[in-house]
Symmetry: C2
Subunit: 269 residues, 2 copies
DNA sequence: TGACACCGTATCATAATATGATACATAAAA
DNA sequence: TTTTATGTATCATATTATGATACGGTGTCA
């Protein structure tokens, strides 16, 4: 089989991880056959790996349908992650205050390669789409948070990112023109914040301010999503933005930049 | 080596998972040696497994200190979990409303073997310990949520649980006497809710109401934690409890009971 | 400065472990 | 009923993981 490399790579472990990754928002429970199909592994391998994950408590199994599901252990991993991320402890209390103050949903996003990951969400009111987005991974260029973060990196690197990083069309209103995205980011360089309309969801406006680290670069952003029905661009800049920036600045100074990086493939999901 | 069983158990995968589980609130970043020590694996195995996890993007690595950390992928797993858990989608919108209404922190907890797992948290105000508790796993008997859930199971099973399930002492005020815990749970059988004082944190009061499924049993609970400085038991019963119960009942009817169970060892952490 | 201990990294011959083809059983579809 | 698909179990083979060993770098104690 495709031995990824040399002797310090254990294929069995990697294959097991592929099974875990077979689950997502569209595939919440999978049969053995589906698991095999989605992971690209043959039936026998899938059988053994899934059984191992089951025995280790990483997968639940419905005794009737024999379908597999993510177990609570997946949340325990998130718990461990939270403690390991130095930014989380710093930011959460301030984000709580911000969310209470604004009365709108506030998110914390971090850069992860060419994507951003939502690390924490403080929901307020009836959130349009009430689903949690913790752990959601999106192309950085297509999000206000990603653009805010990119606005803090050196010009050359920034331009390279704008030219090469992935983009995805979520709604009819999603910007797919890189020139337009460049304008948006350059505007953010000047303004110190990024704002985008209807990129992810129709009638949704996102504002984000970068959380700047010691090196002057942002690795994260505070983001706020509001409805275009009740908010205008001007009103956001006037009422939300100042508080958003205060919060981001309050988090910034003591933040140890996050230097580690996994070299996983930049999967174009 | 200790082949857990037969031919449908892949030891390498299980060992890799042990590395992941080596990270927790007290061990947020680990060197290779520490990883080996905590997982109980020898240096070579740890080296290979950690390297594989790194290549697959499951671990980050600080290029200077060479220490490993949980990666963003751990949050992506949580994301997949949220979509797979039918209760989450049902409950979150109602919990948001409840949290806004109460102005206090609201949690969703699920039973997982003899422990409970916090699945979602809606923080309000300055939460005493602002840390997130999503994914935190606690002995069911030591929590208000666990007692609320246990109050809905048949008597025989309930008694067996009270006699055998694990207990842990978190504060000087934590109840370790099973007779007392039995009283607390039997009271919950009558009242329909559980309340506990200073079990996890000093001066913290927890109230929980069970979310009852089709089979009449609860697999989850809505929980609220407040400060004993500003709340008395009576005030909680008067002001918080009714809303808490309404919310739990609103979630209950349409909830498909969660039948799958991993057979992992009941680790006494 | 040198000696020592520790850690991360790399290599390699060996055998233990994972492999995947195959067969059986059960359940769903025709 | 027959047919198809899916979950489960078995087994001989060689591919794959193993772990002992060695090397280079770094920090610590004399």
């Amino acid at each position: 089989m495709e031995s990824k490399q040399n002797t310090l790579y254990i294929a069995s472990l990697a294959k097991g991880l592929r099974l875990l990754r077979a689950f997502d928002e569209g595939n919440t429970e999978l049969s053995l056959a589906e698991l095999a199909q989605r992971s690209g592994l043959d039936k026998s391998a899938t059988q053994r790996l899934a059984n191992t994950l089951y025995m280790e408590g990483m997968l639940d199994k419905d005794p009737d349908t024999r379908r597999f599901r993510p177990s609570h252990a997946w949340l325990q991993l998130a718990y461990a992650y939270y403690w390991s991320d130095p930014l989380v402890g710093q930011a959460i209390p301030k984000l709580i205050d911000l969310a209470q103050d604004l009365g709108e949903t506030v998110n914390l996003a971090e850069i992860s390669g060419d994507h951003i990951v939502y690390v924490s969400r403080l929901p307020c009111k009836r959130t349009y789409f009430a689903a949690t987005i913790i752990g959601r991974r999106l192309p950085a260029l297509s999000t206000s948070a990603g653009r805010a973060i990119l606005s803090t990196v050196p010009e050359a690197e920034r331009n390279a990112a704008i030219d090469t990083w992935p983009i995805r069309k979520f709604t009819p209103g999603t910007t797919t023109d890189r020139a337009q995205i460049r304008d948006s980011i350059e505007q953010a360089v000047v303004d110190g914040f990024a704002i985008s309309t209807g990129q992810m969801i129709l009638n949704e406006i996102g504002v984000a301010t970068p959380i700047i680290g010691h090196d002057g670069r942002a690795h994260a952003a505070v983001q706020c999503s509001v409805s275009a029905h009740t908010w205008s661009r001007e009103k956001i800049v006037q009422d939300i933005l100042p508080k958003l920036q205060d919060t981001a600045n309050a988090i910034s100074p003591s933040f140890q930049p996050y230097r580690g990086t996994a070299q996983g493939p930049s999967d174009p999901d």
